[in-house]
Assembly symmetry: C2
Homo-oligomer: 242 residues x 2
């Protein structure tokens, strides 16, 4: 009986393995197509052609073009999330400034290496496409890492924020509570607000670089990014890097 079940499971996973492999090949090909056609122009038929399949065969794997897009978005969030997590994991836990710089660099590096996937997840939304709820989890991985760095620093008393910011608006209180429950455990409202601002700023920097706004304006973008990230870190109260 046990042996019998094992046979059943083995063959089932054999079939499923082939299926998983082809699913992976489809998303991988679609990812490559993002570079030339963009998300809006992503074509099921073109992907199928590239794989030597007939277009209708793709429907065995993804019920529609939008589901393929969803898979790409989830993959994208997971990829950048994993990259940032891995980078942070390699840092000394108590070197908060170092973790902050490394984490932000990991965001930029991933963006530079995968500009079209970056645009897919952090760029303008695809018209007519509405991201389903499944994307929320993967989408918050990067914020999770940055938030952990900040809350770790706060918990260990290493945070020394400048006093020059105006008081946080009252309407932000519930948002701050939500953030404490998710990615910024134990952090006061003022730090939570600034963390959020700085989080948006870091992605603003990367987006401006990738989307061409720094053309003819900033030449050594890596050095400028590091400098900006250090300034933004000081704004939350992180110590100088070293």
């Amino acid at each position: 009986m046990l042996c019998y079940n094992r046979v059943v499971n083995a063959s089932r996973t054999a079939r499923e393995r082939v299926r998983a492999e082809l699913t992976r090949e489809i998303t991988e090909t679609a990812r490559r197509h993002l570079a030339t056609s963009g998300a809006a122009g992503l074509s099921l038929r073109a992907v199928a052609r590239d794989l030597g399949m007939v277009s209708s065969a793709v429907y065995r794997y993804f019920p529609s073009r939008d589901d393929l897009l969803t898979a790409l978005i989830i993959d994208g969030y997971n990829a950048i999330g994993a990259a940032v997590e891995k980078t942070d994991g390699a840092c000394r836990r108590d070197d908060h400034a170092g973790r902050w710089l490394a984490g932000c660099r990991a965001i930029r590096d991933w963006g530079l290496a995968h500009p079209h996937e970056y645009a897919l997840v952090y760029g303008s939304p695809v018209p007519g496409y509405r991201a389903p709820e499944q994307t929320i989890g993967p989408a918050s991985r990067v914020a999770g890492v940055l938030g952990k760095i900040i809350s770790d620093a706060y918990a260990s008393g290493a945070l020394d924020p400048p006093g020059f910011c105006p008081p946080v608006p009252e309407s932000f209180a519930p948002d701050a509570s939500g953030l404490r429950e998710s990615v910024l455990a134990g952090v006061p409202d003022g730090i939570a607000a600034r963390s959020l601002a700085v989080w948006a700023s870091v992605f603003g920097m990367v987006s401006f670089e990738l989307f061409g706004q720094f053309e003819n304006v900033v030449s050594d973008r890596a050095a400028f990014f590091d400098h900006t990230v250090a300034c933004l870190g000081r704004l939350i109260g992180l110590p100088a890097s070293g």
Copy 2:
């Protein structure tokens, strides 16, 4: 002879007025279409259909789809530039903090009012489209206003930047020179670097809001934006608003 010329000019401008009017109607319709189809999906035929023209007639006004896109991009930059300029113009010249807040709000307000045009100019680039040089001038109008606010504040001695930022990387020196010649007259390297960072941060905030990253995270986005802009202003050394 003079009279004759006047007749010629009058009739020429009559014809040209009709032409200008239809050109305007085409771009206006195309602008509306951005909302439903996005830049990548913008269709000359659909625009023509909406105007009751045959599709080939549009070619009398724009030699190709990409030229229509270029017109929309230039219009977009000019529209947001004019909005920010107008807002700044209504402020007391020496109220630098007030001008800063008002200018940033104008950016956000315009983005909220014209999300698809905002995405066209500040979002992910359209695949296969390369913006021509004509877009550079209009693109820098907003930066011009923000830069003027900062350089005015610096010139009047109203700038008191915090000392906690690391030294600016040497490689930034030529960029700072360039900025002084265009939008940040007379400002030292350190302020120029921070201005650029803050400029990207402000757009990062607006983009995150418009592109959905603040969904379920920030509820009162206007108040949060004001607070962030104030913090960023302090980072360049602008006084507290009042």
